[in-house]
């Protein structure tokens, strides 16, 4: 009972506030996530003067709590009284921006960037910019790394004197003693360059970029490659050669494989950023070198870019460049020592056929496809098979079928079930491209063999595969080729195989239609209701439930209902349950 002057409306908020300090992390987290509720109840005044000071010093907590707090504060502007007071949020976010946990720091920086937009230009200079400076000259590198992400949001909105200071701070951080800070600066270099005036990009950013790109730490140098993309897009074409290319060339030949890897990984972006002329003169040889790199990781990364690089070559010289410069390297990669390289190549190589056209494909690419189809590594073969559609469009799959078949058969019988699973998934695609005759002749037996695989995942995938094939080839085909074989398994001595019949029927009934289901499948299912294995019997109940909607009401009433009623009195508990379930769903009661 509430007292005379009592009121329990504050109670839930009181609990939330107290739970900010609960021993249970989950409860603290819960409270932090409802921080807006607390702030709303306290009102803007008390939020500013009491809640925020408390939160500013609560940085001892678990990472997940701090992360939630950093996120909440980014959406707190209205709760402290609107843009006029948004600067009150800076102290807690500032302390969060110095914690050691990167995710928390990043989130704090993200929130700071967000609320910077809500600062008026005056507040930005009075409150926000000093915070950035404090962080940038902090004792510990955690605060300096956080500062790197804040320059670009305040730069466009401050006066030219402050702009000059910001540029100076950024310069200082680019040559910081600790690699952590230099990495943070390098990763924000591109973003900062975007907000700078072009003259400063040329005078300031380029020298920083050159310095970071020749840093003693590879972890810094490799980040400069990313910056290279953004800087190159900002500069006019005529300046690229002198300002960016020397550094890029150097990065592509860096002593450290990790830097070269980064160049390979970003190759398409770099290609777009520097434009067609430089691509022709510089990137083509660089790409050739990356494809021949001594480190397999680099070759893999470059191999993955082969198709994209070729596609984006300038049209007038595309074919010549591919034929004379790229293809010879690709040919070597087909017999690379590393299977990762080969499989990376196999996942894109088919794409070259659309670029090169029919004649070149037949003459130059086909031998490579065939070689990869015979590769010892299953992943390589799979990657080729999974991309068959590209070739199909250009030369038709028939050219490949002679080699395709042995490759498929071998994968279909691979000792690793995951490999078998992968090839099953491509069967509908292959069947569509090879046509029904070829399929019946060569692949049908494989598809049926998977139904009795000893791994359940394979049998399951095989069932699903049959359904897709029927959707592709039609009910009549199903009736002639698949259904008899599936139904034949109903008499198999192994109960697992008998159950596979039921699973197939579940999958096929809809695609096959009412006629086939009623005439051919239903009798088999009903007959199996007398199976001695309970698992088979309850799967009969489940199957009946599943195929029920395909049947007409006559069959349901006269054939299905009696069987289900019988199963509903089965001695086995599960059989009973599923039979009752089926009766209920099919509304036969």
């Amino acid at each position: 009972m509430a007292g005379a002057d009592g009121d329990d409306s504050l109670y839930p908020i009181a609990v939330l506030i107290d739970e900010l300090r609960n021993e249970d992390v989950q409860l603290r987290l819960n409270s932090i996530k409802k921080l807006s509720t607390i702030a709303l109840a306290l009102g803007v005044e008390r939020t500013r003067t009491e809640l925020l000071p408390f939160l500013t010093d609560t940085i001892y907590d678990e990472d997940e709590v701090l992360l939630a707090l950093a996120e909440q504060l980014g959406n707190f502007t209205m709760l402290v009284g609107g843009p006029e007071y948004v600067h009150c949020l800076l102290p807690p976010l500032e302390s969060l921006a110095t914690v050691e946990e990167t995710v928390v720091r990043d989130k704090a920086v993200e929130s700071l960037r967000k609320i910077s937009q809500e600062h008026s230009p005056v507040d930005l200079e009075v409150h926000f910019e000093p915070l950035v400076k404090r962080l940038a000259s902090g004792d510990w590198f955690t605060s300096r790394t956080s500062a790197c992400g804040l320059f670009s949001v305040c730069y466009p909105r401050v006066s030219s004197t402050v702009k000059a200071e910001i540029r100076q701070h950024f310069r200082t951080l680019c040559s910081d003693d600790t690699p952590m800070v230099r990495r943070a600066a390098a990763s924000k270099l591109g973003e900062f360059a975007k907000v700078l005036e072009l003259d400063y990009v040329k005078s300031d950013i380029i020298s920083l970029f050159t310095a970071l790109a020749s840093d003693e730490q590879d972890s810094v140098r490799l980040l400069a490659v990313e910056a290279c993309v953004s800087i190159a897009t900002l500069l006019p074409q005529e300046d690229l050669e002198t300002l960016v290319m020397p550094t890029l060339r150097q990065a592509a030949e860096d002593k450290s494989w990790r830097v070269r890897y980064m160049v390979a990984d970003k190759f398409s972006e770099l290609q777009k950023a520097v434009g067609p002329e430089i691509t022709k003169n510089d990137l083509v040889p660089a790409f050739q070198n990356l494809l021949k790199d001594c480190e397999a990781e680099v070759r893999s990364a470059a191999a993955k870019k082969v198709k994209e690089f070729c596609e984006n070559l300038p049209e007038d010289s595309r074919e010549t460049i591919i034929m004379t410069h790229i293809l010879p390297c690709v040919k070597e990669l087909v017999s690379d020592t590393s299977q990762h390289v080969k499989s990376a190549l196999a996942s894109v190589i088919m794409g070259l056929s659309t670029i090169l056209g029919k004649d070149n494909t037949v003459e130059h690419l086909l031998p490579l496809f065939l070689a990869q189809l015979k590769d010892e590594c299953p992943e390589v073969r799979l990657n080729i098979i999974s991309n068959l559609d590209c070739v199909n469009e250009v030369i038709g799959i028939r050219q490949l079928s002679q080699s395709l078949l042995p490759a498929i058969v071998e994968l279909a019988e691979d000792a690793k079930w995951r490999v078998r699973l992968a090839i099953i998934e491509y069967m509908p695609l292959l069947a569509g491209q090879l046509g029904v005759e070829f399929f019946d002749e060569k692949l049908n037996t494989l598809c049926m063999a998977w139904l009795i695989d000893h791994v359940y995942a394979i049998r399951e995938a095989a069932t699903c595969n049959l359904m897709k094939l029927v959707e592709k080839f039609g009910a009549e085909w199903a009736q002639n080729t698949i259904v008899p074989k599936v139904l034949g398994m109903a008499n198999d001595p192994n109960y697992l195989h008998r159950m596979t019949t039921l699973f197939c029927i579940n999958a096929l009934s809809e695609a096959c239609g009412q006629d086939i289901t009623t005439k051919h499948m239903l009798p088999v299912v009903l007959k199996m209701s007398n199976d001695q294995v309970a698992n088979v019997r309850f799967n009969v109940a489940k199957s009946l439930q599943k195929i029920g909607p395909v049947l007409d009401s006559n069959a349901l009433q006269t054939e299905v209902k009696p069987v289900l009623e019988k199963l509903a009195t089965d001695t086995d508990m599960d059989v009973k349950y599923f039979a009752q379930e089926a009766i209920r769903v099919l509304a036969l009661a």
């Binding site: 509430a2 007292g3 002057d5 009592g6 009121d7 329990d8 504050l10 109670y11 908020i13 009181a14 609990v15 506030i17 107290d18 900010l20 300090r21 109840a41 306290l42 008390r46 009491e50 809640l51 000071p53 408390f54 010093d57 609560t58 001892y60 110095t98 914690v99 050691e100 990167t102 510990w140 590198f141 955690t142 605060s143 600790t178 690699p179 952590m180 990495r183 003693e216 730490q217 590879d218 972890s219 860096d254 002593k255 450290s256 494989w257 990790r258 001594c294 480190e295 397999a296 990781e297």
Partner: protein, 447 residues
């Protein structure tokens, strides 16, 4: 800094001893690693009981100006617990094999500690404020009537006594099949390496669910195994270079820029064996028990059973300096083999300016060598010689013939008292020496 190993103008004196005085030493209390942090303000020890103890250097006190500040316990925590690997039926000891401090990144301090299998990242932080004031409880902890809450209270932070907390931040597990012997933080401040008998892994300090195997010397057939990795360390300035030493007395230097896998070394340091001194024990005593880069990164030092060698990274065929630690034991190898002492793994360390080195021996003796003057000294860490601020007297072991006064004969050395772990303050002449369960701290005498 001339003559830190002693001379007319320089003497080591006793400062502190930590640990119980009892004669019976509990196995768990035996110190298994000692490490100063980068500023020397903190000193960490690990023991066989899986505990880490951190000492903090107190500021000099004004009324005793002749004394440098002392190291006092700052934080103690249980880093590792004994475990059992049920799949392999193996007990995993909690013993701390190595501690490495991370470069300081904010007001807290971080260190890595490892036992045989699992590496942990610890944060040691201070807290001096406490939140006060609840809504549902009054000051005495009594619950308030929920209906009588008429206003909301936001907790207020009040000052409190300084509290030091150690919290586990990351656990790097399941990456080592064999016993971890070394961990070393890379100069890029984001990765570190860990080495076991056959493999070296590269970790990112923020990622615990994967590491990259960069060295694997496991032969396809374990019967062909002839060599194991005994120690590994990252070069202090170049983030791409690390070295590892082997049980055959060789050191390989690898460059991570060259390839993702560092199975092929860039440099191979080996001193040709003197055929005249070859014996049954040659291979055992040439096994390297520790390798340490100098602070400059130009040199590295290796410790084998009888000597310490300093190598110039630019010269692979022989060390530039060799110091005999306890050559008098060469005639005793047979009995040292029988009591397993020959397999003891002595560590070694540089002083802050790389001008002197220190390593341990038996009978609680430890040795220092001055690289400039080529002088050496033997000192003893013992309760008897530890009078407050007393200077340490050099010890001598008689090497045959007549024993002079003040000398100890080889036969009376106590081989159960061994100094395996020592550490030198990175900036000053302060050393920490682990003698079984006691940690001795010595410093240069201030006149």
């Amino acid at each position: 800094m001339a003559g830190v190993v002693g001379g007319n103008d320089f003497q080591w004196c006793f400062s502190q001893v930590k640990g119980a005085i009892d004669e019976d030493v509990a196995e768990a209390d035996i110190i298994s690693t000692v490490e100063f942090n980068h500023s020397g303000e903190f000193l960490a020890t690990g023991d066989k009981g899986g505990r880490v103890v951190i000492f903090q250097h107190e500021q000099e006190c004004k009324n005793r100006p002749h004394l440098r500040g002392e190291y006092n316990v700052y934080s103690t925590f249980q880093s590792h617990e004994p475990e059992f690997d049920y799949l392999k039926s193996l007990e995993i000891e909690e013993k701390i094999n190595k501690i490495r401090w991370l470069p300081q990144q904010n007001s807290a301090h971080f260190l890595l500690s490892t036992n045989d299998k699992t590496i942990k990242l610890w944060k040691i932080s201070e807290r001096d404020k406490r939140a006060e004031g609840y809504n549902l409880k009054d000051e005495d902890g009594r619950l308030r009537d929920p209906f009588r809450i008429t206003s909301l209270r936001v907790p207020v932070l009040m000052p409190m006594d300084l509290m030091v907390e150690a919290s586990s931040r990351r656990v790097f597990a399941n990456a080592h099949t064999y016993h971890i012997n070394s961990i070393s933080v890379n100069s890029d401040h984001q990765t570190y390496i860990s080495a076991d008998d056959l493999r070296i892994n590269l970790w990112h300090l923020e990622i615990t669910d994967r590491s990259f195997n960069i060295v694997d010397i496991k032969p396809a057939n374990m019967e062909e195994l002839t060599e194991v990795i005994t120690a590994a360390e990252c070069q202090p300035n170049q983030c791409n270079v690390f070295v590892y030493s082997s049980s055959k007395g060789t050191i390989r230097l690898c460059d991570m820029r060259a390839a993702a896998l560092c199975d092929r070394h860039t440099k191979f340091f080996e001193e040709p064996e003197d055929p005249s001194s070859r014996s049954f024990f040659s291979e055992i005593i040439s096994s390297i028990s520790d390798v340490k880069f100098s602070h400059s990164g130009r040199y590295m030092m290796t410790r084998d059973y009888l000597s310490v060698k300093v190598w110039d990274l630019n010269m692979e065929n022989r060390p530039v300096e060799t110091y005999q630690v306890h050559e008098y034991l060469r005639s005793k190898l047979c009995s040292l083999y029988e009591n397993d002492c020959i397999f003891d793994k002595f560590e070694c360390c540089w002083n802050g300016s790389d001008s002197a080195i220190m390593t341990g021996s038996y009978n609680n003796f430890f040795r220092m060598f001055d690289r400039n003057t080529r002088k050496d000294i033997t000192l003893e860490a013992s309760r008897e010689s530890s009078k407050p601020h007393g200077t340490l007297k050099p010890r001598k072991v008689s090497t045959g013939g007549k024993r002079k006064k003040d000398e100890i004969s080889v036969d009376s050395l106590d081989f159960n008292k061994k100094i395996l772990h020592t550490a030198w303050h990175p900036k000053e002449n302060v050393i920490a020496v682990a003698a079984t369960n006691n940690l001795y701290i010595f410093q240069d005498k201030i006149n």
